[in-house]
């Protein structure tokens, strides 16, 4: 009787209550915030993408037509050709950029050549410029009036050739950063062991260096491939009649006013980028067990011939990179290309200030600042809740998935999704349409993945004990967050802020459908100026962007240096290193 009573009535429930304490209100707050983060991500990422799917199976009047739009699209030879053009160019760019960047990174990490710090900075400069700058600069170098036109042997720079060289320039720093990180992670002990065993240099390269950098190389290749496939600015400016998917979307939406066809091309563009993204994702998943905590950084020893060769190579690459940037700056300061090359500020004064275009530069600064500030707060806050609070494993898995999706979504696809989603009359967030806020949102979402990974990495390196100790001392999690976590992670937080700022300054694909008169952006202004054939003012605007981004990077470097000495002293294992 007694046993039956305990078995049937509230026994198990009561037992459950004993084991699982009621959630404290602070934990509830943390979970509520977590759910809010998840909902926001889902709304601002999946909503727009869903609208693209919907539009792609509708006709202009909104009636369901199934895959008719796709059949239509694939039935047009010119548009079909774009798919092959896009993939072909992206493969060539990847095939050239990766060895170039790898050799550069190899020189920086495995040689004892002089000037490494300078080379590193110069190697990363292209990241400060909108991709359009490269295209404009290469037209000035290799166009019909270009100084180096004879080098091309009669092949016009407009078209596949121009897209390839401009994309190599634009993607080089992205590949360099990833490969550099991979090479820096190498374990110096392996090289010492190999050397003491008398392994020859070439064999060491193929048995230690390459396998060690394998994941980095794949990751870099996928990033370069995706960037080239998704970039709209370069083919738009230098592509001539060579059609690629990103420009096709623009032509469908802007030229033919066909949003449904634009959605169809978007989905086709999404496909190769998603494939690259999944490949990269799976490779990264396998990477973990590779590094040992006892790894020792590799220290390069002097080898005059090798160091000399690497120095020459890096000098050459650095000069080429600077020549691209330099030509754009030069173009912005001459009177009338190519007939009057006297110095003039008129592209800045007459072209930008009098024309009222300069406003877009200040809009960009404003947008980049707000993006960096609010984006960093949201991304880091969300990552904190994800990593340092407990409960709701399902929601956490969903956030991880949502945070990794943006990397696989080309900016134009996201931008088109935003216009379709937010201009829908039934959308309560309709008021955002045509505001700076929507540009900030699109930009934060577009660059979410990298920032999120930076935040997660920084948080993971923090001991979980902080949270357990705080909990046992009854210190609310938000206090731990702002007393411990944020100060300790400040370098990573600033890094995210800088990343968002620089990208917000140069992004064009995510915002080209979204800007309004009050929120015209600098990179879009370059596009419009180039479209109108105003090369001088376009180059001037590109120069301003580079100056702004470079200033922020310098500021970041200074602040980080001060911070590292003042607040991060505990990170240094021992003095004298």
């Amino acid at each position: 009787m007694a046993t039956a009573a305990t078995a049937s009535a509230p026994g198990p429930v009561a037992a459950g209550r004993v084991v699982r304490q009621a959630l404290h209100w602070q934990e509830r707050l943390a979970l509520a915030l977590l759910v809010a983060c998840c909902a926001a991500l889902a709304f601002f990422l999946l909503g727009p993408l869903f609208m693209i799917l919907v539009k792609s199976v509708q006709d202009k009047d909104g009636a369901f037509v199934g895959l008719l739009q796709f059949r239509d699209y694939l039935g047009t030879p010119a548009l079909r050709q774009s798919i092959f053009n896009t993939l072909g160019v992206a493969l060539v760019v990847t095939g050239i950029t990766i060895p170039l960047a790898f050799t550069f990174a190899y020189a920086l990490t495995r040689s004892a050549m002089p000037g490494k710090a300078v080379f590193r900075v110069v190697g990363l400069t292209p990241i400060l410029a909108p991709s359009l700058l490269a295209a404009i600069s290469f037209i000035q170098w290799f166009g019909n009036q270009g100084l180096l036109k004879p080098l091309l042997g009669g092949t016009p720079v407009y078209g596949a050739l121009g897209i390839v060289i401009s994309s190599i320039y634009a993607t080089f720093p992205h590949a360099l950063m990833i490969i550099l990180t991979a090479l820096l992670l190498a374990d110096g002990r392996l090289y010492e062991a190999a050397e003491s065993l008398g392994t020859r240099t070439l064999r060491r390269f193929f048995t230690i260096t390459l396998p060690g950098a394998k994941y980095g190389l794949v990751s870099a290749a996928m990033v370069v491939f995706s960037y080239t496939v998704s970039d709209f600015g370069i083919p738009k400016v230098i592509g001539g009649n060579f059609n690629v998917l990103a420009v096709d979307i623009y032509k469908q939406v802007i030229g033919q006013q066909n949003f449904n066809k634009g959605a169809v091309v978007s989905l086709i563009l999404l496909l190769p980028v998603l494939v690259a993204f999944v490949v990269d994702w799976r490779m990264q998943g396998r990477q973990h067990a590779q590094f040992s905590a006892r790894a020792v950084p590799y220290v390069a020893r002097r080898k005059p011939w090798f160091d000399g060769a690497m120095f020459v190579y890096c000098t050459l690459v650095a000069l080429l990179l600077l020549a691209v940037l330099g030509m754009a700056v030069y173009t912005s300061f001459i009177k009338l290309w190519p007939y009057d090359k006297s110095f003039s500020l008129r592209h800045y004064t007459f072209g930008l200030v009098d024309g009222g275009v300069i406003v877009s530069f200040f809009n960009s600064l404003r947008m980049a600042f707000v993006t960096a500030l609010l984006g960093t707060m949201f991304i880091f806050g969300c990552a904190y809740l994800l990593e340092k609070t407990r409960g709701m494993p399902g929601t956490r898995a969903l956030i991880r998935l949502l945070a990794s999706i943006p990397m696989g979504v080309p900016g134009m696809v996201l931008g088109l999704g935003y216009i379709l989603f937010f201009n829908h009359p039934d959308n309560p967030f309709n008021v955002l349409y045509h505001t700076l806020t929507i540009l900030v949102l699109a930009t934060v979402v577009h660059y979410y993945t990298s920032s999120h990974l930076t935040a997660v990495t920084a948080l993971k390196s923090l001991d979980g004990e902080f949270e357990s100790v705080s909990a046992s001392l009854k210190v609310p999690f938000y206090k731990t967050f702002h007393r411990v976590t944020v100060p300790v992670c400040l370098p990573a937080i600033l890094d995210i802020g800088r990343y968002l700022f620089v990208n917000a300054m140069v992004t064009i694909s995510a915002v080209v459908f979204l800007y309004s008169p009050d929120t015209q952006l600098a990179a879009v202004a370059i596009l419009n100026l180039d479209e109108a054939g105003e090369i001088g003012p376009a180059a001037a605007m590109a120069t301003l962007i580079v100056v702004a981004s470079a200033s922020v990077c310098v500021l970041y470097a200074l602040v980080t240096r001060v911070l590292l000495t003042r607040t991060q002293g505990w990170r240094r294992p021992a003095p004298g290193n």
Binding site: N144, K236, Y339, P487, E531, A532, G533
Partner: protein
């Protein structure tokens, strides 16, 4: 460290507040605000706005400026939820398209009677009316021509000559209003069969189809491609900037369109919109248009412009905007089928 910890939280808080202020933007004074979509040049906008505000100081114009193709695309995209109150300085062929979609609010502006019949919608009240005419012109770089031994073309048919192979650029009709009126002019002037045949021939010589109507002339001015099919306003400004170009008006006839104005249906600021329409049709406004364009919608106001022939208006082809709008999709599809797949010039 302690000192630092105490201040950083505050600085973040004040930075957030600053960001909020920045994002919301400065507050506007108590004025009726009209959202006007336009494809006019920026330097023209300033003059027109000042002119309008002389008589209507209580209405503030907020411009959305972009190329004809972009503005039209935006308006169509927003069909379900229109943002603009007025469309001003956008191609009449685009406005006819919007009218066919039932998006325009017919209105007879104050000075409608003075506007030439061919430069306004035939309905009464009209859905749109013209401000000025913008028409085709060719920019021809004389320095490069001499270097490369190119004769000066005088007609559209001249441009088919093999000597010009790879030397000509023209605007893409899907992106550019200028490109579209070139194509519709050839089709209307010579009939469909001959029109397409002409474009087949011209296509052989085209180096690039640009996205804007201005760029071919700018490229000609920079010697990048010596011949640019463009429009007369851009040809004039390019020449004025010191570029070595001659402006050519082909003898067969010139494609053209109107910079026109229409009120959007459903606008909540109909009264203010009507005031802008009244002003835009007025003599004062027409005098401002005449500073940039050789033909304005009210006859007898325009003065001759340098580099534009006196009989310019007579050289315009007969242009049926209704036909252009109704056939826009078909023409662009056919054009894309024929020329978009163009292989790289060898």
């Amino acid at each position: 460290m302690t000192q630092f910890r105490g201040t950083w939280w505050h600085s973040v808080a004040s930075a957030v507040a600053a960001a909020g202020l920045l994002a919301s933007g400065a507050a506007f004074a108590q004025k009726t605000e009209l959202l006007v979509y336009t494809a006019l040049e920026t330097d023209q906008l300033k003059a027109y706005q000042e002119g309008f505000n002389k008589t209507n100081p209580d209405i503030a114009i907020k411009w959305v400026r972009d190329s004809t193709g972009v503005v039209t695309a935006k308006l169509l995209a927003e069909k379900a939820n229109p943002q603009a109150d007025v469309v001003m300085g956008v191609a009449a062929s685009s406005l006819v398209l919007l009218d066919l979609e039932g998006m325009l609010q017919p209105y007879a502006p104050a000075n409608l009677g003075a506007i030439s019949a061919q430069y306004k919608d035939a309905k009464n009240p009209p859905a749109w009316f013209g401000m000025d005419v913008w028409g085709a012109a060719i920019c021809f770089n004389t320095v490069e021509a001499q270097k490369q031994g190119l004769p000066k073309p005088g007609s559209w048919k001249d441009l088919q000559k093999p000597v010009y192979k790879g030397k000509i650029t023209m605007p893409h009709p899907a992106s550019s209003g200028t490109g579209f009126f070139d194509v519709t002019a050839w089709l209307q002037m010579w009939g469909e069969a001959d029109g397409w045949k002409y474009m087949d021939g011209l296509h052989e010589n085209i180096a690039q189809y640009t996205h804007s109507g201005s760029k071919p002339c700018r490229q000609a001015g920079a010697g990048e491609f010596p011949i640019g099919i463009s429009f007369e306003y851009r040809a004039n400004t390019t020449k004025a900037s010191g570029a070595p170009v001659d402006v050519v008006f082909p003898v067969e006839g010139l494609g053209w369109d109107l910079e026109a104005l229409a009120i959007m249906k459903g606008t909540k600021k109909l009264e203010a919109a009507k005031k802008l329409a009244d002003w835009a049709s007025s003599r004062d406004a027409m005098e401002l248009y005449a500073k940039n364009f050789a033909i304005v919608a009210v006859p007898g106001i325009a003065k001759p412009l340098p580099n534009v022939p006196a009989d310019y208006e007579k050289r315009l082809v007969k242009n049926d905007f209704g036909w252009s709008a109704k056939n826009r999709d078909r023409i662009l599809t056919e054009w894309n089928k024929r020329y978009n797949a163009k292989a790289e010039p060898k």
